[in-house]
C-alpha cells in the first residue's frame, strides 16, 4: 500500500501506526459516496428541469414567445398566454418583499443590537420564526377569514376617497392582490428576519466597538457600520425571501382571486403562475398539460434568474467588501 514506505520507519516501541488498509478503504468509499450524493442532488435538479422542459416542448414550439405576451387563457380555443400570471407573480412577490423585507430587516436589527434583555430577545426571535411553521393552507384560511374582512372597510375607504391613485382604482370584492401580498409577506418574514439576523449577529464585535469608540450613537453605528457590513447577508435574505414568494402556491390560490387580470390596483384580483398550476394541473388534459408545463418552466426561469442575479450581486459585493477590487 501507499503507506508501506513509511511503516518501516516506525520504531517498534512507538504507538503511532500508519492508517490500516481498512481505514484507507473506508475513507475512499465514504468520500466517493458523498461525492455520489452531491451529484445525485445535481441530478435531481436536472431531472426536474428536464421533465418540465420536455413536457413543455410541444407548447413552446406551438405558442412560442406569444405565450409570454398574450393574456388570454382559453382552453376551448386553445389560446394560451400567461402575461397576467407573470405580472401577478411578480407584483405580489414584490409587494410581499417590500413589506416582509422591511419588517424582517427591522426585526433583525431590533433583535441583534442589544435593545432587549437576552430572554426577551430569544422569545421574540422564536415567535417570529414560528411564523414559518404555519402551513400555507392555514395562512390561506386566515387570509380569508381574518385579513379580507379586516381589509374590506379600509379598502373601501381608500377606493372611495383616493380612487384616482392607480393603486386604489378598483374596489375590493374579497380575494385580491393586497390580501394575497399581505399574507405572502408574513410568510416570507421569518426567512428574511432569520437570515438577516444571522448576518447581523455575525458582524464582528470589533467593528461595532470601533464605531462606538468613535462616539457613534447606537443607530449611527447600525446604519453606518453594522448594516453595511451585513449587507451581503441581508441581501441574500431578501433574495431567498423573494424566491419563496415567487413559488408560494396554496395561500395564493386561496387568496388572489385567480382571475386573469393585469392591474396596478391593489384591490383587484389577479393570478400567479403557481396558483394557475395548482388550479389547472390536476385536470389538465393532453392539450393543456404542455402549456402548463411551459408556464412552470417560466416560473422556474424566473426563480432561477432571481437566484442567479442574487448570487452575482453577492459575489461582487462581497469581493468589494474584502477589498479584493479597487
Amino acid at each position: 500500500m501507499a503507506n508501506a514506505t513509511l511503516s518501516d520507519l516506525a520504531e517498534s516501541a512507538s504507538i503511532s501506526s500508519p492508517p490500516s488498509t481498512m481505514e484507507i478503504a473506508k475513507d475512499r468509499v465514504f468520500r466517493g459516496l458523498t461525492r455520489g450524493f452531491a451529484w445525485l442532488t445535481v441530478l435531481v435538479v436536472f431531472l426536474v428541469v428536464y421533465e418540465v422542459a420536455t413536457k413543455a416542448m410541444p407548447a413552446i414550439s406551438e405558442h412560442g414567445f406569444r405565450f409570454v405576451t398574450s393574456s388570454t387563457w382559453d382552453v376551448q380555443n386553445e389560446e394560451f398566454g400567461v402575461l397576467p400570471e407573470i405580472w401577478g407573480t411578480l407584483y405580489s412577490s414584490l409587494l410581499a418583499l417590500l413589506i416582509g423585507g422591511f419588517f424582517g430587516v427591522s426585526i433583525a436589527i431590533f433583535l441583534t443590537q442589544d435593545f432587549l434583555p437576552h430572554r426577551v430577545e430569544w422569545a421574540f426571535k422564536n415567535i417570529v420564526e414560528l411564523l414559518a411553521a404555519i402551513p400555507s393552507v392555514v395562512y390561506g384560511l386566515w387570509g380569508i377569514f381574518v385579513v379580507i374582512p379586516m381589509l374590506r372597510p379600509v379598502a373601501g375607504w381608500l377606493h372611495e376617497n383616493l380612487g384616482w391613485i392607480p393603486f386604489f382604482k378598483t374596489s375590493l370584492s374579497g380575494p385580491g392582490m393586497l390580501p394575497a401580498a399581505l399574507v405572502l409577506s408574513i410568510m416570507i418574514l421569518p426567512t428574511v428576519s432569520a437570515i438577516s439576523r444571522d448576518a447581523l449577529s455575525n458582524v464582528p464585535r470589533k467593528l461595532k466597538e470601533a464605531a462606538f469608540g468613535l462616539g457613534a450613537t447606537r443607530w449611527e453605528a447600525i446604519i453606518g457600520v453594522i448594516v453595511p457590513t451585513a449587507s451581503t447577508g441581508i441581501f441574500g435574505a431578501l433574495v431567498l425571501g423573494f424566491g419563496r414568494a415567487l413559488g408560494e402556491t396554496m395561500a395564493l390560490a386561496m387568496l388572489v382571486g385567480n382571475s386573469n387580470q393585469m392591474s396596478l390596483s391593489l384591490f383587484s384580483p389577479g393570478n400567479t403562475l403557481a396558483s394557475l398550476l395548482a388550479n389547472h394541473f390536476p385536470e389538465a388534459g393532453e392539450r393543456e398539460e404542455p402549456v402548463l408545463m411551459y408556464a412552470a418552466l417560466i416560473l422556474l426561469a424566473i426563480t432561477l434568474l432571481v437566484n442567479i442575479c442574487g448570487a452575482f450581486v453577492l459575489k461582487h459585493a462581497s469581493a468589494r467588501m474584502r477589498g479584493a477590487t479597487k
Binding site: 393574456s71 388570454t72 387563457w73 382559453d74 382552453v75 376551448q76 380555443n77 389560446e79 380569508i144 377569514f145 379580507i148 378598483t170 374596489s171 370584492s173 374579497g174 380575494p175 390560490a253 382571486g257 385567480n258 382571475s259 386573469n260 387580470q261 392591474s263 390596483s265 384591490f267 383587484s268 384580483p269 388550479n279 389547472h280 390536476p282 385536470e283 389538465a284 388534459g285 393532453e286
Partner: protein, 334 residues
Amino acid sequence: SSTSSSSPGGDSGSAAQNIKLQGSGASFPAPLYGRWFKEYSAATEGVKVDYQAKGSGGGIKDFIGHTVDFAASDAAMNDSEIAQVDDGVVLLPMTAGSVVLAYNLPKLKKPLVLSRDAYSKIFLGKIAKWNDEAITATNEGVDLPDLPVTVVRRADSSGTTFVFTNHLSAISKEFADGPGVGKSVSWPESDKFIAAPKNDGVTATIMQTPGAIGYVEFGFADQAKLPMATLQNAAGKFIEPTLENATAALAGVEMPEDLRAWLPDPTGDNAYPIVSYTWLLCYEKYEDSSKAAALKSLVKWCLHQGQESSAEMGYIPLPENVVATVTEKLESIQ
C-alpha cells in the same frame, strides 16, 4: 399502464377480501357519492370505495391516465377524450341535479328574480351594480343595493361550468359567441370576476363576499343556506330551484344509445332551466375481474337503494326508465 391500484396483499385468491375501488372527479355529485360509497363500503364486507372530488376535468384526466378505477363527470366525456382510453369507456348516468345561482345580498328579504336577459348579462360582465335596471325590472319592491356585482366562477375545469355555459349559450347568442361552452371557458376579463376551485370553493367564496353571485350545484347552496335566484325558463315563467321543478325539467329527456343526454334549455312550464345528469365513467375491461364485479354491484346498489337518498340531498332521482337502461348498459363492463 394498468390499474395497479389493486390492494397490495390481495391476489385473486382472496378476491372477496380487500378490494379497493378508487374514484375521482366531479364535485357536483360529491356529497351524494360520498354518502353512497361510505354506506356501501360499510354494508359490504371486503370492499372499500373511495372517491375524491377534484372537478370533472380532473376525474377525466385521472381516468385517461389510469390512476383511478372509475371517475365521475357531469359533462360525461367528449369523443376525443373517449378515444384516448384503450380499455373502452362506459358512461353511466347516476343521478341528476340542478345548477343554481347563489348570491350574497344579506339585506334582501325576498329571493332574487332574474330574467334570462339579466343573468346572461351578469355572466357576460355587462352588469356592474346590483341596482341595474335589468335586475330591478323583475324585482319590484325590492331595495337592491348600490353594490358592485362580483361574479364567482370556477377556477378548475368543471362539469358544473359545462352545464351552466351550455345553458347560457343556448339562451344567449352573445354568450355562445363569446365564452362559449366548455368545462372551462374564457370568462370576460374584469376585476369583478373571481375564481375558486370546486363547487365547495365557489360556495364558500360567495359566502365570504358581499355582492357576489355564482353558480353551484343545488345541494351546496342549500346546505350553506345561501339564497338562490328564481330564474326565467324557456317558457318565460319564473321558476324557483326546487326538486319538483328540476324533476319536471328532466321529464322530457330521451336517452340516446351512449347515454350522453344533455338538456341545455328544458321546455315545459314548470321546468327549472339548468339541470343535468351526472355520469360515472367506467372502463369496459378491467384487468382484475373481481374489481369489475365489485364495481358492477356497487353501481347496482346505487341505482336502487342509493336513489332513495338522492332526493333527500337535493339531487333528482333517476326516472325508472333511465335506471333500466343504465342497468342494462352495466353489463358491458367486464
